[in-house]
Structure formats: structure tokens, C-alpha cells
Symmetry: D2
Subunit: 154 residues, 4 copies
């Protein structure tokens, strides 16, 4: 595994994750090359991120039709370290990395059953107003909840 810009110390980075979401690779997620299609880890990231936000209590409001705020993806990236195959059980880990005013940088790690890492990723989410499209700052409570999950940088 070559140098990945958003990972300083892989060992440390790997150990900082606490939350994960489990998925099993679907048949319809493979492609004719016989492995997981490259677009699917982003589907897994979304699923894991939503579960993560759900445990923080954010998602419940965002999906209410009357809620004006929704989370949107500002950017996303994935580094593919190993091929993944049909029916493999993966754990998709998520952690908050940097908390901004209305945004949060999330990191992702996909692990196989043998605990080897198959892909890693990151991406910034921003809370915006559905009506105006403008960013909306986190409430004090939201910020605290997110920051509690950011690993302490010594």
C-alpha cells in the first residue's frame, strides 16, 4: 500500500475507528471482471455514514420532509487496496476527522473477514439549507457530538 495523503500513520489511523457498519457483497454489485464494481464502495460509504449519523441522532431530523437542513457530500475519495468478491462480508468503519463550522471530514475503512483492509476513503459532508442551498452551521450540540468522536491529536 503506497502513501495515501489523508493517512499519516496507518497503524494509528486504523485503531482510531470505533464505529462500523456491516455489509455483504451482493451479486448485482459484481461486474463482468468477476469482482466488486468500483462504484460500490461509495454506496457502502453512504450506508455506513448514514448509520453513523443515525447513532449521533442527526439523520432522524434530516430525513423529515419539514426539515430545511440536509447533509450533502462536498467531496469523496476511495483508495482500492484489494479486490473484493461476491458474498464477502465487509465491515465499513467511519470516524469524524475534522469538524468545521458546518462541515465534517469523515474517514472510511473497509475490512474483510480476515481483518485485512480492502479499501479506505474520506470525504467532507456539509449541512446545507434545502431552500437556499447555503451551508448551515452545526448547532452547539451537533458540534460536541461530532468532536467527541474525533481522535485526540497529540
Amino acid at each position: 500500500m503506497g502513501k495515501i495523503q489523508y493517512i499519516n500513520d496507518l497503524k494509528k489511523w486504523e485503531q482510531e475507528f470505533r464505529f462500523y457498519h456491516s455489509v455483504t457483497v451482493r451479486f448485482s454489485e459484481t461486474d463482468m471482471f468477476g469482482h466488486l464494481n468500483n462504484t460500490i464502495p461509495f454506496v457502502y460509504f453512504e450506508g455506513a455514514r448514514i448509520e453513523y449519523f443515525h447513532t449521533l441522532g442527526f439523520m432522524q431530523d434530516w430525513v423529515l420532509p419539514e426539515s430545511d437542513t440536509i447533509p450533502v457530500v462536498a467531496d469523496l475519495q476511495c483508495d482500492f487496496l484489494q479486490q473484493v468478491f461476491f458474498n464477502e462480508q465487509l465491515k465499513i468503519y467511519v470516524k469524524a476527522s475534522i469538524v468545521g463550522n458546518s462541515s465534517v471530514d469523515l474517514h472510511y475503512m473497509g475490512k474483510k473477514e480476515d481483518h485485512s483492509i480492502c479499501f479506505v476513503g474520506r470525504g467532507t459532508m456539509v449541512q446545507i439549507s434545502k431552500r437556499t442551498g447555503k451551508s448551515i452551521p452545526w448547532t452547539e450540540l451537533m458540534r460536541q457530538l461530532l468532536e467527541k468522536d474525533v481522535p485526540v491529536q497529540l
Copy 2:
């Protein structure tokens, strides 16, 4: 091709289609068996149906956030006649078959570049109220537009 319940006379049925929507099979739509995954023709049916409704002028209203009516699928079926492969160019034909009070039965036919039929299908769409979930009758104009497309049964 065995007997398909919703097709009486295949030759006649085939010739009644006037509208089609073109698609090219995407790589991510194949699966590890090397062909088009069986769930994708339903994606193509949706694309063709929406284009079809668009030419009738229905879709434009349905997607307005303030519109109370939306079309929903009551049932869908597909008969797979030939395997389909990556990068094939398909024509997805659509026609109205039976027009109900608030519903329409649509028929579908997928053809390869050599004009052979690769899959056929049908399904009933119903216009409902987003608010109540109840069916909403077609306006007189909608009904006329749909009926104009139903082949005359002699």
C-alpha cells in the same frame, strides 16, 4: 420463445410499438456471470416509461415539488429472451395497452441492434396523491393522450 400471457400475437404486438428510448449497456450493469444483470431491464423500463410520459407531457408536472400527484408502479414483469452483454445498444420500446380510470397498463420490448427481441415486459402505473396515497383519476386530456396510443383492437 414460449407463450407469454400478455402477448396474444407476437408479430402484431411487436409492430404496434411506435415509441422507443435508446440505451447502451453500462459496464457497471453487468455481473460476474459476464452479462447484463437481471435487475437492469427494470431500470431501462423506467427510463423508457419516463421518456414516454415526457413526450405526452405528463412527467413535467409530476416532478414539480408542488404537484400532489405522482405516478407509482402497481406491478412490473419482464420475460428474458436472450442474454445481453456489455456495450450492446438496445432500443426499449413502450406502448400503452389498457387505460383505466387512474391507471395505464404499459408494455415494453427491448431489441438488440440486429432487431432481435432480448426481453419483453409489462406493468401497470397508477396516478396517486402524494398526500393521501389514494389513486387520482386521469384528467380528460391525459386519458385522450394515453388512449390515442393504444393500438386499435379489431
Copy 3:
């Protein structure tokens, strides 16, 4: 719920299912009408069917690169009885209905957490040769395993 051709006695039909596969509705599986997109139950059917075949011991061979036989879908249908929403937990039931020489008719039932049925379906799978595309009869063992699951018709 209107009359569905492949269901004679709904109560009896519902009780005959023994196998199910659990899914949670993903965010990316919703569409702008705010509910589960109509193409996704077919993805769930595939997932449940594969798990079902896996418990019978069929799937393990079919996915070996050296295996000449693969299962293909001959037809598929779905009747949508209720709207389904983001994050709902569904049980997707599968049972064998009619076992042919090289084919099997599978029935499907999707249930919400409140045990209400949200969609039902059926479809024929055929075992074919990857090389020739021709159908390949079940082995005696396969047939016995499938027939054991077909409800006794009194």
C-alpha cells in the same frame, strides 16, 4: 390488494414460506418521490434467491469460474402493495413453487416490521450451460432438495 394470478389463497400462500433474507432500505435506493425506487425489489429478490440457493448448497458451485452451469432468470414479476421508505427493515421470503426439469419457479414476499406485506413476486430460474447457453437438467440431488421445499398441494 387485488387478485394476483400466482396466488390462489393468500393466507395459505403466506404461511408456506420458511426462508427469509433481511435487508434494510438504503438511502441510495430511494428516489426523488421519497420512497423506495421500483427497480430495487428485484435487487432484493436476487439477494434473497441467492441466499436461498446458498442454503441448498447450489450457489457455491455456480460461482466457481470452472463451473459450466449458471442459473439465469427466465422471467420475473413484482406486485407492489405498499410504499416502502428509507431505513425500513424488510424480510424477503423465498420459496420454491414448481420444480421443472432444469428450472424452478420461485415465489417472493417482502414484509415490513409490522408484518404487513409490502410486495410479492415470482419468477422462473433456469440452470444453463455457460458455454452453449442451453438448459442443463438438475441433478437428482438438486431436484430432491428443491422439491423438499415445495409446499404439499392437497
Copy 4:
């Protein structure tokens, strides 16, 4: 639009693209927030990249069952600059940026009909052996074809 690491001079970067692939946003690609789901630009990147490789003459060999080499994605990233909606017609531009021994860095740009950029991206593709999983150097011809498309850096 903030600073994006892989774009030095946006104006220049934008003008270097020559190849594009057209897509129309499908209904099933939207989500309940009413816009294009964040996982879909990666599907569009794949489609555009494959068309791009097809025009270079690479894709035709890679999809032959007897071919030992296939292209795999080493990493992928996308920056989302604007929300995208149902039925919008997008042009997905692709260009080669850096040609390695067995890899190539591709850049992507999605544009709306009004020529505004809605998302940009990049990612490295590597040619590997299906059998060994090891990287396989480009042939001299492949390298020339890829390098011809890399914008001259003055």
C-alpha cells in the same frame, strides 16, 4: 469553488479536455433529497472512461474472456460543485494526465447544459493480470496513445 489539489489552473485544466461522453440523469439515480445521489458520478466516470479507452482501442481486448489483462481502479475521487437534478443532460469529459509504467491518471469533468461545471474528479487506473493480480506494463503502442492525449506541460 475552493482549491482542488489536482487542479492547478482551472481555466487551463478545463480547456485541455477533448473527449466527452453524454449522459442524461435517470430517475432511479435521484434520491429522496430530490437530487442526483452522490454515488452516481462514479458510475458516469466509469462510463466515460470506458468510452475513452474504447476510442483508444484498449477496451475491446480487455473485455475478451481470453484476455489476461484487465484495467482496475487504484483510486477515485470526486468534488461535487453543484447539485444535479433529474433529466439533466451532462457531458462527462475525460483526459489522461500522467502516464505511468502500467498505470494512467485520468481526470474527469462533468458539465451541465449551461456549460457550468457540476463535478470534477480524478483517479488512477492500473492494468493488471487477471491471473496473478500483478500490474502489467503498457505496450509501447498503448503508452504512445495515452501520452498523445496528455496535455503538454510548458
